[in-house]
Symmetry: C2
Subunit: 388 residues, 2 copies
């Protein structure tokens, strides 16, 4: 059986490589033709992904062939779609990338094929939009093809081991879809569990994200309260946490493609249903986390007052601008928002990041400086401010 | 050395017994003279407390002597205070019981004595009120006596094993207080850790409670959302939870002496400081948990419509009225609130609880019936409604 993986990004490429490594012939589809060429040469475009080098050397251009053309996958019988879903400024999901991918799959879909969505989506997306797009483009009726949802659960850097060890879930649009998708998936994802529906699978992924977001908001709230009470939050957290207590770490907020988006998928869906009070813990948590950038910007300004210079001459270095330490990704980076807030106030802001080069920083319209050349350094990951 | 334990309730009595069992002579002080007599005869007034029977048989009336008179403890050199602190209708702490106990201790306090507060209190209580009450009554100045805080971390039913195994923390009002209190405590609480101050110790206990309250609110919010989306919450929860995710269980709210009170200690303290937005996740969580009683009352009414009788004739049995399963305690019981909400609406409500007798139920102004004699049974602990 031949399997297509649509979307060769941080989630899709490791999955495609793992499927190839399990003995399947895989066609990887990605809009980026240059990336496809690299993959076919066995070159790994995500070097921080542990174990991916090895798999791509072994399978790239052999059992794993990457292509920007959907028609190259027309003889596949399973299509796994794992493309990004973003939200707009009002936090509404923007389905355009997903729709383009699904409609393209629809155009090469045959009777008996199975489509599995791995992209994390708002509740009921699989049973409404995904099904409709596929039916419209293929001319087939659901049942002639099957649909399931198995939300990706990777963590950049550890995706291969996650796919091999971490529990993964899959749910079908109907009994047959769930059963078939599960049978195939268990050949390359050993720890896969079937849940009762695609809708449950969607919900599972979203509530995991909500758990993280709410608990980070709680850590941020308690961190601020500790500050007001003159208490060292980290000391308190160390001894508060035990078997039944897991207070998270404070931060400049929550960044990246995942956690900050998922609560909105539920909040917005409930609002559409006219249930406005139903997601207010999720909404409050989003607010608290988003406000942390402003909180830190204010803290930094107050620290700048301790430097023996006029405020607008103090050279501030924000150290760490990626959304998470060790991952070169800036999407929804709240560390970047801290730097930008300070810049908007006319302060002299420079940035430094071990993963981002001086040129890349300047291309983003930011100024680079090494921490040792600044008057004051804010470490975004450690939440410390150091005056030179 | 002789140690006094003030307050022989669910937290104090197990502690007094454990201290006696570690070889100390203990004077237990409690306002309830009848309870004191029982203890001195070796009779256990908290039968559900595992291991307490044995300790009281061994030490009651021997190395552990209970008395309602503070003067019987005048030759003690450590005073551990573990009396209740409630909140009023506006969620403000009511210090009266604590003040009475501390002032009484103050009147027998001698130079060199040490007072340890175990009651969970709002931040800074130890360094302000406790110190003040002791100084005023004893005529001594802090330093002539020492003060520390070691918040109780028991769980009714498991208090003895908690004291023997669970990490416990202690912090002093000054260096000497912390050091001395720690040295003595470690003789009867093996897993004790010293933190930098009494204030940090107070905060640690409160944020543990906040973690629980917020996470129960999250579970309740997600449970309601799952209901709106036609999803079985328990199935989703089972697969959402893993190494990095610990979604709690939904409920009728949060009851008992502890968790529902502690967030208010922080919320109210921050409000007094004029920091109104600082505890809004805590406040939202309290609201969500408190509203669950109304949520369940509404659910039950809708279920009653399925019974083939006029609504006001449907015999409703609320099964489980204690605040937690297996603990005969009604303080802040949200299950009781569910029953009362239904009664206020003029419905025919009966209650049943395996731990509460028919007479006790009727003394509370409630009506008793066995579940099998009702038309509809709501199980407060399992959150299920069963129509006969």
């Amino acid at each position: 059986m031949k399997i297509a993986v649509v979307g060769l990004g941080r989630a899709g490429l490791p999955l495609a490589a793992v499927i190839a490594d399990s003995g399947f012939e895989v066609i990887g589809i990605d809009v980026d033709a240059q990336k496809c060429e690299l993959i076919n040469k066995g070159v790994n475009p995500i070097p921080e992904e542990i174990g991916l080098d090895e798999l791509l050397t072994k399978h790239g251009g052999k059992s794993l062939n990457a292509t920007p053309r959907y028609e190259d996958a027309s003889d596949c019988s399973m299509f796994i779609v794992i493309v990004p879903l973003f939200v707009d400024e009002d936090h509404n999901p923007d389905f355009s990338v997903l729709e383009t991918a699904l409609r393209a799959v629809g155009r090469i879909l045959k009777k008996g094929d199975i489509v599995v969505l791995e992209t994390t989506v708002p509740p009921r997306t699989t049973e409404t939009r995904i099904k409709k797009w596929l039916e419209e483009e293929s001319g087939l009726t659901f049942g002639e093809f099957l649909v399931a949802h198995s939300p990706e659960r990777i963590m950049t850097g550890y995706s291969i081991s996650r796919l091999k060890e971490f529990p993964k879930i899959i749910g079908g649009l109907d009994e047959e879809s769930g059963k078939r998708a599960f049978e195939i998936y268990k050949k390359f994802v050993p720890n896969i569990h079937r849940v009762s529906s695609a809708r449950v699978a969607e919900f599972i992924k979203l509530i995991e994200g909500c758990y993280r977001d709410v608990n980070i908001a709680l850590a941020n709230e308690l961190f601020k309260i500790a500050g007001e009470l003159g208490i060292n939050f980290y000391e308190a957290r160390e001894w508060a946490n035990h078997e039944y207590c897991d207070i998270h770490l404070p931060s400049t907020g929550v960044g990246g493609h995942c956690i900050p988006l998922y609560p909105w998928f539920l909040i917005k869906e409930l609002e559409r249903m006219g249930k406005f009070g139903h997601a207010r813990l999720l909404r409050t948590s989003r607010e608290i986390n988003d406000e942390m950038a402003e909180y830190w910007a204010e803290k930094i300004v107050l620290e700048c007052l301790k430097v023996n210079k006029p405020l607008h001459e103090v050279k501030i270095c924000v150290r760490g601008i990626t959304y998470r330490e060790g991952v070169k990704q800036l999407y929804e980076s709240r560390n970047l928002v801290v730097a930008k807030r300070l810049m908007e106030k006319g302060l002299k802001v420079y940035v430094y990041d071990e993963l981002v080069s001086e040129d890349e920083i300047e291309d983003m319209g930011l100024r680079f400086c090494k921490p040792e050349h600044a008057d004051i350094v804010f470490d975004s990951f450690r939440l410390t401010t150091r005056i030179k």
